[in-house]
Amino acid sequence: MKLTLTLNGVRRTDEVAADTTLFSYLRDRGCLSVKCGCETSNCGLCTVWLEGKPVLSCSVPALRAQGKSVTTLEGLQEEAAQFGAYLADEGAEQCGYCSPGFVMNVLSMVRELDNPTDEEIKEYLAGNLCRCTGYQGQLRAIRRYLQEKGGAK
């Protein structure tokens, strides 16, 4: 089936099978930042944006993106590096495998929530698992990032 979408700002059309997940479609198109950590929509590693909203790409059929815009970390490199620098300065990226999905969701959160509290941050990101860090360093990085951007409680 034909799929036309805007991927990281570039409009393209591809032939895809009906059962292709958005995850597989994106990996096959070279968006290798997108990772899979489970098959049960639990881990958040495959988070991308569909029309600017975070979705779990492993659980979205590619054809659902018909006519829509999809953003992966490849399309947000500058912003990823800006926030990522705060993670890096905490040593909180560790193995980094959950980073792309986590960063996508953080960048979505900063668009969606004004001055989030720690509880709101944890709630928003609860679906992004990380086995390395114990989450503390990630929270410190987010707080510092928000502070410097202006607008943390």
Binding site: L32, S33, V34, K35, G37, C38, E39, T40, N42, C43, L45, T72, L73, E74, Q77, A80, A81, F83, G84, A85, L87, A88, D89, E90, G91, A92, E93, Q94, C95, G96, Y97, C98, S99, P100, V103, K122, E123, L125, A126, G127, N128, L129, C130, R131, C132, T133, G134, Y135, Q136, G137, Q138, L139
Partner: protein
């Protein structure tokens, strides 16, 4: 020693690649023409393959081969990544006719696409002779059901292996006379504790691709902690010479010990050997959980004896460990149960540690952060907490009275010296930071919730004494920058950066002038790999030695070029110069000079091993909020006071600690492992196996109390494993302080607490 980088929070060298999602992991580099692999796995916990018909599967378009036990080499091996001769028995085949646990591989399908492989799986017809499985590990020893009846089973080391009794290993070591000493004690407490086969649950599952390179050699690119051991294991299993194998480790998406076993490597390697084609396998999460390399399930019996004043005189500890279907890491993990728990108590007059490791038809175990110490410390620390309660003592006071101190020798830790230890300071700081004296044991909040605290101590090792070996090479290049070649595996822990910090301080240069490269077994110097908390201590030791050697070479060459003797010159990191004159040659010029018309490359390489494994120590204190209505426990605050010797990277050590504690919280409260009656694992996804999210992590406060380990690089010991050991006993104790209920099995789920409280109210 004044340092510029050591003991600072240097950003990891690979950090920006990781946070911006660069394709640096195994699965991101798969050759486009690689065959996709799927494994047909046994639906039975114990069965014999009467016959397999793969003819229909082979007809699926795109299927290139279907391999069964008939196609696999018949030499047994172990997949445990350990120094040869491995203590783990040689009990595996890549594909075996006898199946020993649910999910054991039955056939490998290799196809052009994943879909074709998946479709072919369904068309393989297997005639299984289903046999009664042995599932209860407490009944395994001398059970008539034999897990490994095969004739070509082999044990390389004398660890008491007896396959005819389902024994992977058995051991006994005693210091003093425990039975006599226990008789002299005023109080003797006996308890049995149970832990489960926890999954490491690293975010990147097991994955590997293989291909034949331009020389016809087998190249194995894999997410592994043990590239050099993997090379040997591949050679054993595939029956091809080691010289024909190259193992490459890209970035690793977490390991925690899981990847100290060769789990996914053999299947694509066999396919490449048979077909000559590149091959790729990526385990599903389910496969990683059902047939990975989890922590060994254990049952531990503790007898602990003390005087009425709280002096702990003797501990008798017995561990029964469930190896599951295969003996990987079985004999060695169990050793740490005793050696890294009993040594916490310097007061012991006598101690005994006995163990049996048994085969069953459950999933095979492996290495998981803590490696037996986690189980042993949970048991011993819980017993000490219960002893303190029985004596009416504060559990911090009984520890202050009995804990190991710097300067002691540790008879139950291989007789090694305790050169460096600030455990006493850790305890004092923990009490202060937790406000222990006010919070112990509990208080009831206005909403009916109970706040309670619990404490535990922990230790680990730093590498394996006199076994672990690390080599590094450092080269001065044209332009004056250095290349640091390492064989240890950075799995997110940051060892590439930590070693560069040490090298930069040893060579008095900017850390940006040191580029690090690891690991490629064709190019990297030998290292046993990243496990046993060895990298900072052992490989770090090699870095310090190598830098010293390189400095000598640089000085000698600089002096030669300046026309003076090395004694007349000095090297300050930037230049070799003759003091009191303006004669000098810069590092950059030296680099160029050594590359032009020369036979003197400025390169050094040293190996390092340590006869001892100095323990890092810590104290952990948990404050929990327990809802007596539902039994829900929330760890609201965790205080971690750590002595890892000199802290090399303050940020990374802190994050290691926080991460280890949250894994420990998962083990204590959530991570359950259940089998159905036929031996099938039920908790095989993140839906059923609940690792903590950020909502369960609470607040963790970490502080360091560095001792100085004289045998360590810059005084460092280790950090990686130590930090997982305190949550289970500390939280167990906090729950007991909250409810009066003593739990002896992990995890302690909300429903367990709610039902026990219900029963308590009725009784």
């Amino acid at each position: 020693m004044k340092t510029k980088y050591v003991s600072t929070g240097v950003r990891k060298k690979d950090a920006m690649s990781l946070v911006t999602g660069k394709p640096v992991y195994t699965g991101d580099m798969v050759p486009p023409n690689a065959l996709r692999l799927k494994l047909l796995r046994s639906p039975h916990a114990r069965a014999y393959i009467r016959s397999i018909d793969t003819s229909k599967a082979k007809l699926v378009p795109g299927v290139v081969c279907v391999l069964t036990w008939e196609d696999a080499p018949q030499s047994r091996f172990t997949t445990a990544g350990q120094t040869w001769p491995e203590p783990s028995p040689y009990d595996r085949l890549i594909l075996d006719r006898q199946l020993r646990c649910c999910g054991d591989p039955v056939a490998i399908v290799a196809a052009e696409t994943e879909q074709a492989a998946q479709q072919a799986l369904k068309l393989i017809q297997v005639d299984y002779e289903v046999q009664t499985p042995l599932l209860d590990f407490t009944q395994a020893k001398d059970n008539p059901i034999l897990v490994h009846p095969e004739d070509n089973f082999r044990a390389l080391c004398d660890v008491g292996t007896d396959a005819k009794r389902n024994l992977v290993s058995t051991d006994c070591c005693e210091v003093g006379d425990v039975d006599e000493e226990l008789k002299r004690c005023d109080v003797v407490l006996e308890r049995t504790y149970n832990t489960l086969a926890n999954s490491q649950a690293m975010m990147e599952t097991f994955c590997t691709f293989t291909y034949l390179d331009e020389y016809g050699r087998l190249t194995v690119v894999s997410s592994t902690q043990v590239p050099f051991h993997a090379r040997r294991i591949l050679s054993n299993a595939l029956e091809i010479p080691k010289g024909q194998i190259r193992v490459v480790k890209p970035r690793i998406g977490g390991g925690f010990g899981a990847k100290q076993s060769v789990v996914s490597e053999l299947f694509p390697a066999l396919v490449t050997k048979v077909t000559g084609r590149a091959a790729y396998i990526c385990y599903t999460r389910q496969e990683s959980m059902t047939n990975g390399s989890p922590r060994h399930q254990m049952q531990m019996r503790v007898r602990i004896g003390a005087d009425r004043d709280g002096t702990i005189r003797a501990i008798d500890l017995h561990a029964l460990s469930n190896a599951g279907a295969y003996g990987d890491h079985g004999p060695t993990t169990v050793g740490l149960v005793g050696h890294k728990s009993l040594a916490l108590y310097g007061s012991l007059i006598a101690s005994r540690f006995t163990s049996d490791v048994v085969y069953t038809n459950t999933m095979g175990g492996g290495a998981y952060r803590g490696y037996g110490a986690t189980q042993g410390i949970y048991a011993v620390e819980s017993a000490v907490n219960e002893l303190a309660a029985q004596l009416g003592m504060d559990p911090t006071v009984i520890r202050e009275k009995n804990m190991v101190r710097q300067g002691q020798t540790m008879p139950n830790y291989y007789g090694e010296p305790c050169n460096s230890c600030t455990l006493d300071q850790c305890m004092a700081a923990a009490k202060e930071h937790m406000d222990w004296d006010n919070k112990f044991p509990r208080r009831v909040l206005p909403n009916g919730h109970i706040r309670a605290v619990g404490v535990a101590m922990a230790m680990q090792g730093s590498g394996i004494s006199a076994v672990d070996t690390a080599s590094v090479e450092i080269r001065l290049n044209d332009g004056g920058f250095y290349t640091l070649l390492v064989g240890c595996t950075d799995m997110g822990t940051g060892c590439d950066t930590i070693l560069a910090q040490m090298a930069a301080d040893c060579l008095d240069c900017d850390i940006a002038d040191i580029s690090v490269r690891g690991v490629d077994t064709d190019q990297s110097p030998y290292d046993t790999g990243s496990y046993a908390s060895s990298t900072t201590y052992v490989t770090g030791g090699a870095v310090v030695k190598t830098c010293a050697q390189l400095r000598e070479k640089i000085l000698a060459e600089g002096a030669r070029l300046l026309g003076v003797s090395p004694e007349e010159a000095e090297f300050d990191g930037d230049k070799v110069f003759v003091p009191g004159t303006d004669r000098c040659i810069t590092r950059k010029e030296l680099g160029w000079a050594s590359f032009e018309g020369h036979s003197r490359t400025l390169s050094a390489s040293q190996s390092h091993s340590s006869p001892i494994s100095p323990p890092p120590f810590m104290v952990g204190m948990a404050e929990i909020d327990l809802d007596p209505e539902t039994g829900t426990v929330e760890v609201v605050d965790y205080v971690a006071e750590v002595d890892c010797g000199t802290v090399i990277n303050t940020n990374l050590a802190r994050v290691q600690t926080e991460g280890g504690i949250v894994q420990g919280i998962g083990m204590a409260l959530y991570e359950n492992v259940q089998y159905n009656a036929a031996g099938k694992l039920l908790n095989d996804s993140f839906l059923q196996y609940k690792i903590p999210t950020r909502l369960e992590a609470g607040t963790i406060r970490v502080a360091f109390h560095p001792s100085y380990e004289p045998t360590g690089p810059f005084g460092a010991k280790s950090i990686g494993e130590l930090v997982i050991n305190t949550p289970a006993p500390a939280i167990t104790e906090a729950i007991r302080n909250a409810t009066g209920l003593s739990f002896h099995s992990l995890p302690i789920r909300a429903e367990d607490i709610a039902m026990a409280l219900e029963k308590q109210n009725h009784d």
